[in-house]
Structure formats: structure tokens, C-alpha cells
Symmetry: C3
């Protein structure tokens, strides 16, 4: 059997198959891409109290994110400076004013300073300042916590401004959604047996929406065409549909800051490297990707609501949760199906993007540039 | 401790231990041997209806075997030509006249031609002929389906004629068994934690039959000697034994085409690379080997019967199934026991074949030649 | 983020993190260190009868240890000399005067000589002497069985004399404990998800005893200081404590040979590469380490008692077993916690030993020297 030569095709190629399963390419991605970019790790409102913490894996590192007594969120490598025992081994929890290593009782302030080390604090050659926790850069942008393992991180705006502006037509419309104020009403964690890039590539095109997402296309009929969006233009809810909910009925008012022209709009945006945002009139859905290996990704999907709505006693987000939960499972199914063929000789030099998918190639080229 | 030097032995050596566990040698075997030879994947009578399909792994590829509306069996790489999603993810099933990719609804005929691709069929630069399914060579030989991933496969007869002729004395006696007509009466799938070559080497010698297979030797007492067969000469059922069944009684007539001299005969043949055939007077047993890794092999054992017998309402194959099921489990036990020592320094330059096993070395040399 | 340069520290560094997870370094350790040193594999009194055997993994080899009809313990590679099938696949058991391979019935004496090989014993070119089992050097030292895979093993005393003499001040006090006579009263097997060296490093320092081992420090209050022992000086039981038991009460007399000055003493000794000894007045605790991979170690903990005590009808060792079982579990917890950070960039060039841990560096340097 022989395989047609891709280079003669008038259409763009995907990345070669090995980019989706090779463990050394995956290690490079973790080392260069996920360790040099800002990586989204969760919502700031999940860590409100002093000492509230979470532990996340970023690149190859376990990172501890904790709220200080001064109200500031900080991030550290989750390792003791003495013999490197992991400091916190739960995924989240509450510290009592300090961080103590179980092994030899070295104790750090929530600000990372070394407060105690048995028998060592009075030692004349021991420079306690040199043994504080190793800081990791942290920024809160629009209520999302981002960390960056690079030596000299770029400003986070350099990373997020472009995609936001490109999608809305300018950066300003983002503020209509008051993202920083929204509250998580529901969160679902999925394990997808596929490379993280297949999940982003899936989100980047709607060519699959017609065949794969009947429920989604019922609410947003423009998706049936399979075409990509036009910069600045929203997808629009179907006539007769009140809201992006499983029933098509609205259970809550639109977000308070929305202008009239966006009361029936949907916008989807990828913020590299690991968050997908979906803007709806009365809620926002955020998918955060956590690569766990070359062929496995954990995806946390958060449904965000106006804080006044989320605080109502009888608040029930399930009418809108159900829609994206269905769409998510449909997408994971085909991402996994595609992952299974990445090792085939048929994909050795990649597959083909049809014209409606040609913009995905920019994503591939961005990844390649980061790995160079 | 020191290990005796094999080269001084008057007996032949086995392959060095690493040939039985090294993952790079295994990958070479899959790439060169299983991807260049015809590989048996099952019985043609399992896929009778138009659209009936099975999915098999050959070398590193998932291969789709399907019966066309013209009655012809064909094989394809089980991947969509667009973004390479796996087309069929069940092991077998029934297609309704076409093969559709779930992801973007590209649709292929059972003959592999691209029939539909949303938004693309009218695209002036889209050459639909170039995007048909990737064909894999397929032949049906004596009711067995064989596929071949090579660019220019040799004729299948070049692969099967030699071993058949060598064992029976000539190729013609094979036709006595009317293999193509036989029906599967029982099938058992085993997972053996051993390299596929250990299973073939085990089948190639009867030096272990006395110690390991009392039930087998009771029926075929010549096996106790441990000697290999003589070309053209059968092993013969014991005096007082009617049939190769657990009771020694016959439950069905001999195969209709058998000449008198084979009414009490047993012949065993290896067809490289992955099928073991056992010819008995009233049935044939076929072991098909599916390597699943350097130290794991799935073996499917099919018991084949005269179609008239198999169609009887009260047909019960278990009296003969039981014999080879016992023999199989005894063999897998010692194959697994041997696998465990392959990493030992004692096997670094291999073990020793006694004279009754010297012919196995030809198999080893064939494998080595394929890997060169 | 930047990491402080270790070389400027006045304190010694641990090994770099990769020594605790890299599979090629682990393979080197197994090949050079565990295959060249004497390795402790258990107690001789567990194999009293003729034909009693145990199977242990040493380096990359399965080793069979068996008591001969002459009462002598011997060790062999656990592989048949013919096709290398594993001979014994239970961890321990009882042979009936000979060792027979299941596959082709080659049979060996308990002294390793080939006694039978079907069809081969009379073969003129078959030198049966050349096909005896492959011997592994074995020594019994103080009731412990040690084996050595090296071509020319050093004397075992060269390996054990130094650490014993260094700890007790001289070699002679060891005899007070009559180790060779003691009997196993209780044995617990633990699986620790940590590199074997982390377990030894943990045993080598008491800087963690205060934070980690309150029960131990209650019995041996000197451990709270976190300081290492002084050569020849014991740790001493707390005032008011009768014995090293969970209640602090004594349930049995001290070992008969102990001089008065050691009736309240504790000594801990590491015998490289894999046994930790704890000498108490009325029992001895031996931890034997069996590495099972770069990040996994099985530890067998044996509590040894005076044979007269152990033979009493109502003998109950649990009052002293409970103490070290608690200590063990506390240690495995922090060894596992430390293992998790070995891949962190924070440990790429290692962690830091405080002065009370500086002697551990000798262990690290010994390992490095063995790998050179």
C-alpha cells in the first residue's frame, strides 16, 4: 500500500502523528511551553481565607498556591528546601498560618520565608533568607489564577490580549462580562485519553458541530454550517430559543453588564496554552486543560454565574450545565477516537485540514515555535 | 559465578534472551516481519453479510476488514483520511452500506471510495479520488483471511506452500481436509504473558510432550518419545482410541474427504508468522497468534468442523475442545515460565536446543533474516 | 524563578534528584552494586529441612536458595540450563530431593548437579557436568543468608566488619547478642513507593526523629536532639521505661549474653547494601530492603528473639513489634513524600544535609563509587 503525498495537497496539513504521542515531544512541551507561558490553574474565589491553598501540577512541577495573611495569593514550588519532601500532599486545604514540612519540621510563613529549622536557626553559617520557599510567579487575571515557571515571565496581558481582541473585535467588550466577579456554580472534572492539543484543535473548529453536536446546533444553528467565526461577530441563539439551556428556556437574567447586541450572543475563545472560554448571555463556561501525559488530559469545566444569581437559595445551574456537559462528552469521544490513530502510518506526516479548519494551523505553528 | 561458553557446545543455541523482551526488537518485528508478511486475521465465514466487519491489529496498524456489496472481502487502514479519527472502534459489527467517520461525517463506500465530505465534494481543488480509504492487501486462503501491509506483497502461496508440502510430503493432501468449507464450532481466546516466538517454539517441538502433556500423549503415544515428526508421516492415535477427544470416543464421523490412511492421523503445521494448524480426522484446530507487546500474546484457538456436523441441532464440540484446551493451558504455563527467565544473565547468549529441537533454529534464523 | 546555587552553601549536598528515579541509574545500581556486593536475602533458620527453599530477586536475577541433604545451604540462578525456564515459581517451599524443570523434565540434585535430561544422558556429545545449575556464592553470617553474584566475591567480613566495629567501638560486642541463634518471632513486609536509598538515608539520621517519631522519642529521649550517635556509645532507654515496648514494660528477660552496660541500650547499624539492624536489650529488629524498581522498595522487617523465649507456648511479641511497626510507617510516609519531589527542578542538583546529617554523604559517595 502507498500513501498519497501530502505536500501535493492544496490543503494544509496537521502536525505529524508523533506530536500527539511521543513522550519526548511531550516532555519538551512541558519544559518549554507549559514552563514558559502563563498557565491557568483555577479560580481565585476558591481560595478566599488566609491559608487556603491548592496544589497543582504545572509543567513537571508540583506548585502550591496559597492565600497570605495579607490577602495576597502566592505560589511556590511545593518542596521543602532542606531534603525536598513535598510540603502539601492534598489537592487543596487550609493551612494554619504557616507551612510545615512533616519530615524535619522546617517551617515557612505563608509569604514563603523560612521561620524555623530545628537546630539550624542559630547556626552561624546558616543563611535563613537563602532557604525560603522557591517562588513561582502568580497573577490573577479576571478572577483566574495563572502561574508562570519562567525565570523572567512576560506580562500576562501579552498572552491574553491578542485572542480576546481578535475574537471580540477589540479588548473592551470583555469587561461587559465582569469575569472577575463571577462565581463558580458547578464544576465537572473529566479525564480525556487524548493529547491536550487534540482537545484544543477540536475546540478551534466547528466543522464537526453538525455531525457531532445536534443539541448545540439546535441552540446555535449557525454552527451547522461548519464555518469558523468572523472576528467581532457572535454566533446567535436560534429563533424561539430564550437561553443556552437544555430546554431553550431562560432560568436567570442576562449578566448585568451586557449591551443589548450581546443578549443572544455566543463567543468562544482559546487562551493559550490551557483555557477555553465560552461566553453566553447569562453565564460563562471555562475549560481548563491539565495535561497528565502524552495521551491523557484532565479537563476541569467550570460554569460561572453572576454572584447575585449564584447566591440565591434555590439557585440551580443544571439547565445550562447539561448542555455543555453533553457537548463535552461528544468532543472527548472524538478526541479519543482520533488519538487512537496518531500512531498509524496514515498519520505519519499528518492529516489534512479542510479550508474551514485552516486557522488551526496557526495553533500548530505556535506550538512548533515554542518547541524550537 | 561464570557461565559456560555456548559456542563450545555441540548443540545449537536459541536466540539470545533480549529477543524475547526488548521493546525495540519487538518494534522491528512488527515493522519488518508482521508488516511485510501475510498475517492471518480470522475466518472468512465470520463475515458473511454485506457490511459485516472486523477490526484487527496487524503490525502497528488497526485494520478494518469488511465484506462489500459485491461479496468481496476488503481491508483498509481503520482511519479517516481527513483528520485520521479511527473509523470503527468495535472489534466486529455490521455496517449499513457505508463507512462514516463520527467526527466530521466523511463517508466511504464499502469499496473504500470517498462518497461524502461536508462542504468539500464541490470544492474545485478537492480530488475526492485521492481521499479514498487506504487499502490493505487481503487474500482468503482455505477460509482464512490474511492481510499484508507491504507495498508489494508476494503471492500468499509463496508463504504457505512450503510448510504444507514439507509436512504432508506434498501440497495435495491438504485438500483432503477441505479447510475452506469448515465451520468454527468453538473459539477460545487466551492471553499468554510470553513473547509470540516462545509460543511458536513451544509448538515446534515435542520434547516437552512427555513431561507436560499426559492427556495428549495418552491419545497420541508417539509424542512421548519427544522426537520431531518425519516429513510426510503422521502421528497416529493410540490403539483402542477412537478419536482425538477427552474420552477417546468418537462423537462424529471423520471429515468426508479423508483417505483411509489418514483416519487415525494427526499433523501439526506452523504457517509463519502467526498460525498453528492441527489436523485431526474429524476436526481441525487453528491457533492464531496476535502479539500485543514484547511479553504478551493473545492466542485465539478455533475448532473447525465439517459444516454438516456443525449445523446439527444437538452439535456439541466440547469432547474435542476439552483436549486442546488442556494442552493449551499446559503450554501457556511453560511459555510464561520461560518468559520470566529471558532477562537472566544465564540466557544472555541463549539456551541450548537438544537434537530433537534442532529444527527450531530454522525458525530463529528466519526471524533474524526478516529483521536484517 | 531562580534557584540558589548549592555550591556556595557551607553544607553538604544530597545526590541530585535523578539518582532517585532514573531507570538507567537504577539498572546500573542493580548491575554494579547489588550484583557485586553480598546481599542479605533472609534468615537461615527459615530453611531448616533438606529441600527447603526460597526464591529471591537479587540484582536482575531470580535466585534459588535451597538446603541440601548434607545440611548445606546453596544458591543457584533459578533457571533451567536447557531452555531457561524458571525452575521454582513460588517464593518458598519444599523440594523432594531434587529440582525438576516442569518444561522438559531436566532434573538437578540439591547440589546443583544435572541428574536427568530425557534422551540426553546417554548422548555421546552431551557433557552433563557442563549443564549443572549455575551456582551463586552464598554465606551465612550471624544467621543471615547472603548471596553474591560477582565472579570473585570478596570475603563477607570485609563488607560487614567496618560498620559493626564503627558502631560498637569494636567488632567483639556483636557477639553479646548471639545473633546467629535468634529466632524470628514476627515478620512484616511493607511496600514503600520510594527509592531504596531514601530509606537508608532516612535510617542514617535522627534529625527527623523529634518531628516524626513521638513514640520512639518517648522510649529513647536522646533521639529528640536530632544528633547522630557517637561511635561506641548507645542510645539509652528513658528513665522509668523498662523495655523498648509500646507500654514501656518488659515482657521478657534481656538477651542472655548482654553485659550490664547494655541492658538499657539501643544501637542501630546499616550493613550495606540492604540490611538495617536495631539492637535492643531483649530483641533485635532487622529490616531487609528489596529494591523492586527505581521508585519502589519492599522492606521485610523481622523481629528476632532469644530462641528459648520464642519457643514458650504463650510467646507474644506484639508489645515490641508495635513500636517499630509505628516507626516504620512514619518513615515510609516521609520517604514517599520525599520521593515525589525527586523530579522537581528544586532537587535537580540535590537538597542540603544539615550538619547532623553530614555523615549521610559518605553513603552517597559509596554509591557513586560503586557506579563508576
Amino acid at each position: 500500500m502507498s500513501i498519497s503525498v501530502r505536500s501535493e495537497s492544496p490543503f494544509l496539513s496537521t502536525l505529524p502523528g508523533r506530536y500527539y504521542y511521543d513522550s519526548s515531544i511531550y516532555a519538551q512541551e512541558q519544559e518549554r511551553l507549559f514552563s514558559l507561558l502563563w498557565v491557568c490553574v483555577g479560580r481565585a474565589d476558591a481560595l478566599l481565607a488566609t491559608g487556603a491553598y491548592q496544589v497543582v501540577t504545572v509543567g513537571m512541577e508540583s506548585v502550591l498556591v496559597v492565600r497570605g495573611s495579607d490577602g495576597v495569593l502566592r505560589a511556590y514550588l511545593n518542596v521543602c528546601r532542606h531534603r525536598c519532601a513535598r510540603l502539601c500532599d492534598d489537592l487543596c486545604g487550609q493551612l494554619k498560618g504557616s507551612i510545615q514540612c512533616r519530615y524535619h519540621a522546617w517551617t515557612y510563613g505563608l509569604d514563603g520565608k523560612l521561620l524555623g529549622a530545628p537546630n539550624m536557626m542559630g547556626h552561624e553559617q546558616f543563611d535563613r533568607v537563602a532557604y525560603g520557599l522557591l517562588s513561582v510567579a502568580l497573577e490573577v487575571w479576571e478572577g483566574f489564577i495563572w502561574v508562570n515557571l519562567a525565570d523572567r515571565p512576560a506580562a500576562i496581558m501579552e498572552q491574553v490580549q491578542g485572542p480576546i481582541s481578535e475574537r471580540f473585535g477589540s479588548y473592551e467588550p470583555l469587561s461587559n462580562y465582569q469575569l472577575a466577579l463571577l462565581k463558580v456554580g458547578k464544576s465537572i472534572s473529566y479525564v480525556v485519553e487524548a493529547n491536550w492539543k487534540l482537545i484544543i484543535e477540536n475546540f478551534l473548529e466547528c466543522y464537526h458541530c453538525g455531525p457531532m453536536h445536534p443539541e448545540l446546533c439546535h441552540l446555535l444553528p449557525g454552527f451547522k454550517s461548519g464555518k469558523s467565526y468572523v472576528a467581532g461577530e457572535a454566533a446567535t441563539l436560534a429563533d424561539g430559543v430564550e437561553a443556552f439551556s437544555i430546554t431553550g428556556k431562560a432560568s436567570r437574567p442576562p449578566l448585568p453588564g451586557l449591551p443589548p447586541e450581546d443578549l443572544r450572543s455566543y463567543y468562544g475563545i482559546v487562551l493559550m496554552p490551557n483555557i477555553l472560554l465560552n461566553f453566553l448571555p447569562d453565564h460563562v463556561v471555562a475549560h481548563t486543560l491539565h495535561p497528565e501525559g502524552p495521551t491523557r488530559t484532565r479537563v476541569v469545566c467550570d460554569w460561572l454565574f453572576d454572584p447575585q444569581e449564584a447566591a440565591r437559595p434555590n439557585f440551580d445551574p443544571m439547565d445550562v450545565v447539561e448542555v455543555f456537559d453533553i457537548v463535552n462528552r461528544q468532543d472527548w469521544d472524538v478526541c479519543q477516537l482520533t488519538q487512537q490513530s496518531m500512531t498509524s502510518r496514515a498519520y505519519r506526516s499528518g492529516g489534512v485540514y479542510v479550508p474551514a479548519e485552516h486557522h488551526i494551523r496557526q495553533f500548530c505553528d505556535f506550538v512548533l515555535a515554542m518547541l524550537d
